[in-house]
Amino acid sequence: MNNMRKIERDVKMTDTKITARSVNVHYGDTHAIKDVDVNIADKTVTAFIGPSGCGKSTFLRCLNRMNDTIDICRVTGEIKIDDKDINHKSVDPVQLRAQVGMVFQKPNPFPKSIYDNIAYGPRIHGLSKSKSELDEIVERALRRGAIWDEVKDRLDQPGTGLSGGQQQRLCIARAVATEPEVLLMDEPCSALDPIATAQVEELIDELRQDYSVVIVTHSMQQAARVSQKTAFFHLGNLVEFNDTGEIFTNPSDPRTESYITGRIG
């Protein structure tokens, strides 16, 4: 098998962007994340893998405080982005989320035009001063979302009319349009067909130039293809975190090995 075809590509480590220290998450009585420590580097794609229900999404959502929106969810521990504690009182989650963008498992374009979908973020954050500036932002985002060519003639049509893969790329473009520093993606390809998946993966690889990208996936193949670093979660624990190549060729934890060899999951 040639799962690992992309792992060897050069991994130039840059600064640490996100540090998490003894993060615990409870949903009511469910202990979903147990004492997780991790450092996520800038300009890198980090993959979270693990069997269903192990807490990948939960942890991801801690990074931009999306868990705040779930009543029963309680997060403890320390998460810092650029050395600033994001759970500190002084941090406005709204600002945090502008800085840490998110793409969801199911493409969720707003029931508005394609243009308005992309312009949504820049508008609410006041990133543009004029219509023409906004046009530019939208075009740039759509180009980076690798979907410009497909939609440039129908910007005023509803975003919901696109195919699944296009919708997902639209959502990525939408997230990019607000110029975040970190991009979180929760199984961005699980609703997509193979061709769309390939397109999105290519896109992720390109986004790495500018962003710190964190991606959750249940496909080990995908993790291997797109990421430089991989974290393996199991039952709420971060079992192993290492270079992707290491993890897939030489896992140090027996649980990781069981998982990637298909004995569990």
């Binding site: 406005d92 709204v94 600002q95 502008a98 800085q99 609410i124 954050h125 006041g126 990133l127 740039r140 180009r143 980076r144 690798a146 410009w148 607000t178 110029e179 520093e181 290519e202 896109l203 390109e206 130039q209 500018d210």
Partner: protein, 433 residues
């Protein structure tokens, strides 16, 4: 893939974060403003409800008490000979005992005697008669009786007739006030809770008028309404939601039902007048006909609620049962319907609560008649609560002003109770799938 990626990075990061930060204060304010507007909207709604209830209570509370006078009654065998029962001069008997309580009054003048007797409610003589008829040994005896006073004196006692008003403009004259005060001073006057409001049927005399007839009529009408609309609506809802093929006909039925839910109630009254009374020759003023009309109105509400409740049962339950080899009807009756029942009941109770308060169609089928006895079957003539309110509101006697408000409060009480039951159902059986 594209040229953009390799384009020189725009010096943007700083600006973007700054821009966001700069906009935050304004945006927070906007959100808080939205929140306050929402809270304001709710407060307006609450305020209106409060004013409504307060204005009702302020006029209606007086009707929940009724002034009574306690009398020593000597049943004179001359006036009430045993062999003539139930006829007899009961009014004179009462007059005589009033005379004893007002020793200063010259009862020999017929005018004065009548005026004194007028302190007592017209119903007093019948109450006395009924007691004597039930126990003829009372003839020749003296015993105490507490009876309502007539409406003007009740108003006087409640302060609704002001003593300062010029005598000619007062329903109670100066000498009458003096009599009443004498009675009050002797401790004969009391103001207990007005049970009659619930145990008496309608009457011309405010102090005797009660809601029993209306309550019974509403009960029969609502029972009829429930017995007809509930099974029909559930049958229709199940059929439409679970079995009906999706075709023009079921679309047509659906539009029909939605439309019926919004058809003005007075149109249902026209329907009942023409079809039930005109064609089928059903009796006027009968709660059965009222219930039938209300059933037609309530049915769409229940159907819509039932369909929503059926829809809310997750498909996985249906699939599970179907996968086990249950027939569609088995799935519906054994799984879906029981699970939807709380929602259905909620919808039904709310629909019935609306039916309880419905007036216009009942006016058209003659349920606004004056009837002094409660209906004993749904085919007897009767009024209903809302039409009783309508009748009382149009009565000249002053006592009916507060009684109208009181009747409205009683009706509201029923509605709130029914809604509370619905809410209880909803919260108790609410399921999370």
């Amino acid at each position: 893939m594209t040229d953009i990626t390799n384009a020189p990075a725009v010096p943007r990061k700083a600006t973007s974060t700054e821009l966001v930060a700069a906009s935050l204060k304004r945006r927070r304010r906007k959100q808080i403003r939205l929140q306050w507007i929402g809270l304001g909207a709710i407060s307006i709604a609450f305020l209106m409800l409060f004013i409504l209830v307060a204005s009702l209570v302020s006029t209606g509370w007086q009707a929940f008490t009724q002034t009574h006078v306690t009398l020593e009654v000597y049943v004179d065998p001359e006036e009430v000979p045993e062999d003539r029962l139930p006829r007899g001069g009961f009014r004179d008997v009462l007059g005589a005992s009033m005379g004893q309580m007002l020793p200063d009054v010259d009862m020999s003048a017929r005018e004065t005697a009548r005026a004194v007797e007028g302190i007592l409610s017209n119903g007093a003589q019948f109450e006395l008669r009924d007691r004597v008829v039930a126990d003829p040994s009372l003839i020749g005896q003296t015993f105490t009786m507490t009876v309502p006073v007539s409406d003007p004196y009740d108003q006087l006692n409640k302060g609704l007739i002001e003593r300062e008003t010029e005598e000619v403009n007062r329903r109670v004259k100066d000498n009458e006030i003096a009599w009443f005060d004498t009675l009050a001073d002797s401790g004969a006057i009391s103001k207990p809770f007005n049970w009659g409001l619930f145990t008496n049927a309608d009457s011309r005399f405010p102090e005797l008028a009660g809601l029993k007839g209306a309550l019974v009529g509403s009960f029969w009408a609502l029972l009829t309404c429930f017995l007809i609309s509930f099974p029909l609506a559930i049958g229709a809802a199940i059929y439409l939601e679970e079995f009906a093929p999706k075709n023009k006909l079921s679309d047509f039925i659906e539009v029909n039902i939605n439309n019926l839910a919004a058809v003005p109630s007075v149109v249902f009254g026209l329907l009942a007048l023409a079809v039930f009374i005109g064609w089928f020759g059903m009796p006027r003023s009968a709660p059965f006909v009222g219930g039938l009309t209300l059933a037609l109105m309530t049915m769409p509400t229940i159907i819509i609620a039932t369909r929503a409740a059926l829809k809310a049962v997750p498909p996985s339950i249906r699939e599970a049962a179907l996968g086990l080899g249950a027939s569609k009807q088995q799935v519906v009756f054994q799984h879906v319907l029981p699970l939807a029942m709380p929602g259905i009941l909620t919808g039904t109770i709310i629909g019935l609560a609306q039916a309880l308060g419905e007036t216009a169609p009942l006016l058209l089928i003659g349920m606004n008649a004056f009837i002094t006895s409660a209906a004993s079957s749904p085919f007897d003539s009767s009024t209903a609560l809302p039409t009783q309110i309508f009748i009382w509101a149009d009565s000249p006697e002053r006592g009916f002003v507060s009684r109208t408000s009181a009747a409205i409060l009683v009706l509201l009480g029923f509605l709130v109770t029914m809604n509370a039951i619905a809410i209880y159902f909803r919260q108790k059986f609410e399921r999370k799938w």
